[in-house]
């Protein structure tokens, strides 16, 4: 097992760069997870906007309008002094000031459309929202008056009607937020795996295949087949170690929220991708002769395959032409399998996920075959 031992020694020399990838990815995942968990309890909430009303009309209608606005927002009592108002708005104690002019109710009764004045934070969404609320109240009131009812009755009817609020419900299931975070974790994993494994394994392969030492080893009594098998064992073990590492991180971060089947399937999908990446790295290690070439290839392949394969950009937003190209990339099949796993409750439903995994394994076999042919050619 001399070559295996050598592989491990070379791997040890490459561990610092491998660790950097793992640590950065783990930190990013922890940060994203924790920030999403804290906000997941309040995915939707009405905002209460501090406002005041300068009521110069002192009528039932002006009171009805004020009460309506105060239902969903925070009414602030105010003297109406202009300087004080300016200060309160400057310090954001009040976001919106509604001025109801004298004769407002009478004007409405007469079928006019009296103008309501307001002060608001310029270009703010809050001001726009309050304008809409006032406009909505007045429209409902006019509609009610149009039916021929008295103003007092119309105010009461409008108040009741405006109390009704739309039920807001999220389309996804209860644990969707954590589910999408874990999906996101595994979605971005291919880039890390490609960049990390290609750099680490590629460097080791270049060292092992440097012509001078390769020829020297060819003079020895250990056959090339045995040496290649030991290298294959080393690469497989390294790939397995990396897979276990990322699975453990996922378990720590998402174990409580996820079902065993989701974990199992995502794990299988990632394992297929790791095997493919290991084979790809070995192939490039055989073909690239210099570290600089390898680095360039690793950057191009990891970024290119990640962008085109839907790792960074959802496949749904990609054009048909790009999707056609993406189907020639293993990342595409990893991502589609990963997406398919989200909706799977039983193994029997995971047909499309398994198909994606199978295609990744075919890519692995193809890359490994090319690597072996390259190795024979070198001999």
């Amino acid at each position: 097992m001399q070559t295996f031992k050598l592989f491990m020694t070379l791997l040890k020399r490459n561990l610092p760069s491998v660790s950097i990838y793992v640590v950065i990815f783990a930190i990013i995942s922890v940060v994203i997870t924790s920030s999403n968990q804290s906000s997941s309890a309040q995915l939707y909430q009405d905002e209460a906007i501090p406002f005041t009303v300068i009521d110069e009309d002192k009528s039932a209608l002006s009171e009805g309008l004020r009460e309506y606005l105060a239902q969903k927002n925070e009414y602030v009592e105010h003297s109406g002094a202009v300087e004080e108002l300016q200060m309160d708005m400057y310090y954001r104690d009040i976001y919106y000031v509604l001025i109801i002019p004298e004769g407002f109710e009478e004007g409405v009764k007469a079928g006019e459309e009296p103008t309501l004045q307001n002060y608001k934070i310029k270009d703010s969404s809050v001001g726009y929202y309050m304008d809409l609320a006032v406009e909505s109240y007045m429209s409902t009131l006019r509609a009610s008056l149009a039916t021929g009812v008295e103003l007092s009755e119309a105010i009461a009817t409008t108040g009741e009607a405006m109390q009704a609020s739309a039920e807001v419900s999220m389309q996804q299931k209860e644990n969707t937020s954590t589910n999408s975070i874990m999906q996101g974790y595994f979605q971005t994993l291919p880039y890390i795996l490609l960049a990390m494994l290609m750099n680490a394994l590629g460097n080791i392969m270049i060292s092992l295949n440097r012509e001078k030492v390769r020829l020297r080893a060819n003079c020895s009594s250990l056959s090339m087949t045995k040496r290649n098998l030991q290298i294959a064992l080393g690469t497989a073990l390294f790939g397995l170690m990396i897979w276990v590492l990322f699975e453990v991180i996922a378990l720590v971060l998402y174990a409580k929220q996820e079902s065993a089947i989701t974990f199992a399937l995502t794990g299988m999908n990632t394992l297929c991708f790791v095997l493919m990446t290991v084979a790809l790295s070995v192939m490039i290690g055989f073909l690239a002769k210099k570290e600089a070439v390898l680095s360039a290839v690793a950057i191009i392949v990891s970024l290119g395959a990640s962008f085109l394969g839907g790792v960074f950009v959802p496949l749904e937003v990609m054009g048909e032409g790009i999707i056609k190209v993406a189907k020639f990339l293993p990342t595409y099949w990893y991502v589609t399998a990963n997406s398919a796993i989200v909706n799977v409750a039983e193994f029997s439903e995971a047909g499309s996920a398994f198909a994606g995994m199978g295609i990744q394994l075919l890519f692995a076999a193809a890359f490994f075959t090319i690597a072996m042919v390259a190795s024979r050619k070198q001999k």
Binding site: S207, K212, L215, A217
Partner: protein, 314 residues
């Protein structure tokens, strides 16, 4: 020469497209020899070695090592061979100790034995103090020694050394040459390729002179020198030499060539006795004043020159 035949090469032909690198090359190396392959760059020395080691496919001929036909998968035979390539072939990522251990481990599985062999190899080349050094930190001479340690640590019976002293300082060169003699004394058969004739003369028991992929002559140092006409060359410093005397000198016994250039009279002799005394007597008799006198015995370069018509380092 007595002893078992370790290497037998018969009618070896190796072509690189149009170029014939080895042209019906023959060679026989006996057990216990330090066999030198001497020739200029491109003469086919390394190609011969690579064919014998099974690293290169050849077009024609037969190679036997330790009585067995040599092939790329002759692992039993390869286990008895050590190779020190011309270029330093070690892992830059491994320390001196790790490098020797790795290459030794390709032959020796037993951990304890390997540890002992590695220690012995490091001691042999004088690298014990540099065990934990990475190759980048070693000087050219020390790197060459590491290269040797990696090739001999498993105690091979047959060792190929391909120009192991190229670009090495005199101290390391002497250390390497002493080491090779010691390995031979311990029982290893050595095949040594070089274009440094002084080294080959110093350590090789038999020498093959190669050029153009052919084996031009084989023999001991003395045998090779006896093959040529030149026995001795005498140079005499003379400031004013009458050209008319040149013909008379050429007529002296055993002289086969004489020339006068740049205040030096150079007289080439075939084998014979009293050549120097006779020449100096002649000069005195003819009142020719002379200065320093040099007498040179033939070298392998003379052998090469006489056989090929060109200098070894051309």
């Amino acid at each position: 020469m007595e002893g078992k035949t370790v290497i037998k090469v018969e009618n070896l032909v190796k072509r690189y497209k149009e170029l014939v690198a080895l042209d019906h090359f023959n060679l026989e190396v006996k057990e216990g020899e330090v066999f030198g392959l001497l020739g200029p760059n491109g003469s086919g020395k390394s190609t011969t070695m690579n064919c014998i080691l099974g690293l290169l496919k050849y077009d024609k001929g037969n190679i036997e090592v330790f009585g067995k036909k040599m092939a790329p998968d002759s692992y039993e035979v390869k286990a008895m061979i050590g190779v020190v390539p011309q270029e330093v072939a070690v892992f830059e990522e491994l320390t001196v100790l790790e490098n020797v251990d790795y290459f030794c481990g390709l032959y020796v599985n037993d951990k304890a034995t390997r540890k002992q062999y590695v220690e012995e190899a490091l001691e042999f080349v004088g690298l014990q103090e540099f065990k934990k050094f990475y190759p980048k930190k070693l000087s050219g001479g020390l790197l060459r020694r590491l290269n040797i340690a990696c090739g001999i640590a498993h105690k091979p019976k047959l060792i190929f050394l391909d120009e192991p002293t190229v670009a090495v300082d005199p101290q390391s060169r002497n250390k390497i040459l002493e080491g090779i003699e010691q390995l031979n004394a311990e029982g290893a058969t050595i095949v040594y390729t070089s274009h440094y004739m002084e080294e080959v003369e110093q350590i090789c028991t038999r020498i093959a002179i190669m050029d153009g992929g052919k084996n031009l002559a084989i023999g001991t140092n003395e045998e090779l020198k006896n093959m040529i006409k030149t026995g001795e060359t005498i140079q005499v410093e003379i400031l004013d030499f009458p050209q008319a005397q040149l013909e008379s000198i050429r007529a002296l016994p055993h002289v086969y060539r004489a020339e006068y250039e740049e205040n030096h009279l150079k007289v080439h002799y075939t084998k014979g006795q009293r050549n120097l005394v006779r020449l100096l007597d002649y000069l005195k008799e003819h009142d020719i004043t002379f200065g320093r006198v040099y007498s040179e015995l033939p070298t392998l370069n003379d052998v090469f020159l006489e056989i090929t018509g060109k200098e070894l380092r051309d």
